[in-house]
């Protein structure tokens, strides 16, 4: 338990995870800008190599629309990874710091910090997975895979932990009042 007015530092592993996530987000943004054409070519080649998966029919006008949509979603996934990795890195630092300070029980503090760190760090990876799978599985199937493997478990963990933290800080606020 912290002395009044003193912040407790969250575990180093949480801080390191958050910093790695921010670095990955920045690297993702930079790579998107630098290798935009190469990435689009790779995704396009992947889509063209699997016509059945993407519902390509061999008619240029129709197929180009399908390919364009897949490429837009591929690009959106990379962008969302960049945004969420940068944002969730800061969220992890702020929330684990708050949890480390506000939680009185060791078990609660450990559980909260773990959920906030693992959930927050895992969630953005789902966007990377979505983008990476689009050429192989198609937009919707890739989205479903990312949803079930990453967004729901990791996002759910982060969401539960965030509301738990709100309740914890709220209870402390009421007790203090």
């Amino acid at each position: 338990v912290s002395a009044p007015g003193t912040w407790l530092v969250p575990p180093l592993a949480s801080i390191l995870t958050a910093m790695l996530l921010i670095a990955a987000g920045e690297l993702g943004g930079a790579s998107m800008a630098k290798f935009r054409i190469e990435l689009a070519r790779w995704a396009r080649a992947g889509v063209l190599a699997r016509p059945a998966v993407h519902g390509l029919v061999g008619v240029r006008d129709v197929d180009e629309q399908v390919i364009d949509e897949a490429l837009v979603k591929f690009d959106a996934g990379l962008r969302l990874f960049h945004l969420h990795a940068e944002g969730m890195g800061l969220v992890i630092i702020a929330t684990t710091m708050t949890a480390a300070t506000a939680a009185r029980s060791d078990r609660v503090r450990r559980t909260l910090v773990t959920l906030l760190t693992v959930g927050g760090a895992g969630y953005p990876v789902g966007y990377l997975l979505w983008s990476g799978l689009i050429p192989y599985r198609g937009v919707e199937a890739a989205k479903a895979t990312a949803e079930w493997l990453v967004w729901i478990p990791f996002g759910g963990a982060s969401l539960v932990a965030a509301w738990w933290l709100v309740a914890l800080v709220g209870v402390r606020l009421i007790r203090r009042a």
């Binding site: 912040w7 929330t95 709100v166 800080v169």
Partner: protein, 165 residues
């Protein structure tokens, strides 16, 4: 202020989950509400024109929810960090209280985007956006900006005073 910061993060995450998971339901709800108030939304009875108006309204509502998600997630950590900074570097209790009050008020800024979405549904796209901007987003955003600027000035003054002492 800490509670508000933590609440913002939780609301932001929930808004993202709701906005992503219930997108078709939200679009359907907005469409129903727009059709129920044709005059308010400027529907003309022409299918082609009305479809465009409905699509623009749905887009504005979704944009509001999306901004709620991004701004709440971003402003939550910012409020936690800056209020901590204020507690550390502002030596005068009354000034610290004022900065905390401004930051807490400014932290409600993302809720303005929820008001934005609701106002678009209730008052029509243009009128709704104008109402939310004028009465919610501008005052709350200004509180956040004034709070941050005040913190910067007070931190500089406090530092100069500590050096002089």
């Amino acid at each position: 202020v800490l509670f508000v910061g933590a609440l913002l993060v939780a609301v932001g995450e929930s808004a993202g989950a709701v906005g992503g998971g219930l997108r078709p339901q939200i679009a359907e709800y907005v469409q129903t509400r727009v059709v129920a108030s044709p005059e308010r939304h400027g529907l003309a009875g022409s299918a082609e024109y009305d479809t465009e108006v409905i699509a623009q309204t749905v887009y504005a509502v979704e944009a509001g929810l999306s901004f709620l998600h991004t701004h709440a997630q971003g402003l939550g950590p910012l409020v936690i960090f800056t209020s901590t900074m204020a507690a550390t570097v502002v030596p005068w209790p009354w000034a610290r209280g004022a900065v905390h009050a401004l930051l807490a008020l400014g932290a409600l800024f993302p809720a303005g985007y929820l008001a934005y979405s609701i106002a678009v549904i209730e008052r029509g796209r243009e009128a709704g956006i104008e109402t939310a901007e004028r009465y919610v987003l501008t005052p709350l955003g200004s509180a956040a900006i004034v709070g941050l600027l005040t913190l910067a000035v007070l931190a500089a003054v406090g530092r100069r005073r500590r050096r002089a002492a």
